[in-house]
Subunit: 201 residues, 2 copies
DNA sequence: TCTCAATGTTGACACTGTCTACTTTGTTGC
DNA sequence: GCAACAAAGTAGACAGTGTCAACATTGAGA
């Protein structure tokens, strides 16, 4: 009875990699460790992945896919500007509830993109969701007339959201002794300031 | 003639660590590698640093010191708001001209702060420079009356700047095929939007 | 049935951080 | 001057890592 409960090793390796990362972070990810957890020889995973980087690339690609889906399944609004706000909140929600996956995507030295086209495609899709949404929202123009302004605004929004999440996650912030309440207040304030920056009508 | 050109090993280890990081990134940092480059035994650095993390913490602490100094040596203005702008540009300048050091501070899994008080102190100083500057600049209030608003605004500004730099540095952005000109345009636009967010008078 | 490719195992190599034990060296107290 | 001692450097070992090469098993197709 093939396929009944015998998942292919390749799949089990990826799942186990996610577990390890969720438990102990990406640094703890080792091919041999995974092999041991799965009860196979230390070389078995190599039949399915050329290197540690290839496993990592697969995990990152899937994380981006989950992330993109999370953004697209957000609460929707017919008002473009409000809808943008929902997207921002969906972004924050993901970053806060799945910090390790978030860090994996944005805070890790990723394998060379040229060697991992799948990973590339998935990450581009995540950005394009924001980019496309933005193209149909009339934002105030900050003065300098440039084409591709939607792209730059997308980068600005992305940067701000990412910056906030990144800082909240970063080891540096442990430095500052923020309470959970302070963090959420800070996020609210950031959303307000972000609206101001974009000039809501 | 002691001290003429015989720098203590501890100092040489740190300098060599900086070189390695500048050349090949933090992942390539290894105690044994440094020892080899310095022509000493692989255990010699251990007489001065308890572990790899302790070397890393020292390097990070010094990076923060350099960073703080760079912020304080910025172009100054008597107008608080303009001065804030100068500080922002100083921040960006550092991040763009010393990307590896920047990533080291903000994008790396740092050693546990509890074990490295020096590193902690230096990182706090960097943030307090921005924080203190902000306390004497009258920004528009975004509505919710809270004390400690300067702290939260500092976090917002920091986040935005950091987000931009982080995204520009990140492997993810190679995905998007940005030209150098586009990047600088994006940074300019970000500074403008940041002003809008803070409500310049 | 033979073949062959896919899959998994075993062994080896070079590299890493870190522990322990030893040697050298320079300074201090007597 | 010399004994003692701590600091600094060396040498060897161990477990862990990624990765290469050689071998075994197995299952499907010709």
């Amino acid at each position: 009875m093939p396929g009944l409960e015998a998942k292919p090793l390749k799949e089990r390796v990826v799942e186990e990699a996610f577990k390890v990362i969720d438990e102990s972070g990406v640094d703890a990810l080792s091919l041999r460790g995974i092999a041991k957890r799965l009860g196979v020889s230390h070389q078995a995973p190599y039949k399915h992945f050329a290197s540690r980087d290839h496993i990592l690339a697969e995990v990152v690609a899937r994380s981006f896919r989950v992330f993109s889906n999370h953004l697209e399944n957000r609460q929707r609004s017919s008002d473009g500007f409000e809808d943008l706000g929902f997207m921002g909140r969906a972004y924050l929600e993901f970053a806060l509830t799945k910090p390790l996956q978030y860090r994996l995507m944005f805070n890790t030295a990723l394998p060379d993109i040229k060697d991992h086209p799948d990973m590339l495609r998935e990450s581009q899709r995540a950005f394009s969701i924001l980019h496309e949404r933005l193209q149909s929202v009339p934002l105030s123009d900050p003065g300098d007339q440039i084409e591709e302004s939607a792209k730059h605004d997308a980068m600005f929004i992305w940067s701000t959201l990412h910056g906030c999440c990144s800082i909240l996650h970063s080891d540096v912030v442990k430095t500052l002794d923020l309470t959970a309440r302070e963090k959420s207040t800070m996020l609210e304030r950031m959303m307000i300031r972000l609206s101001m920056a974009l000039g809501s009508h």
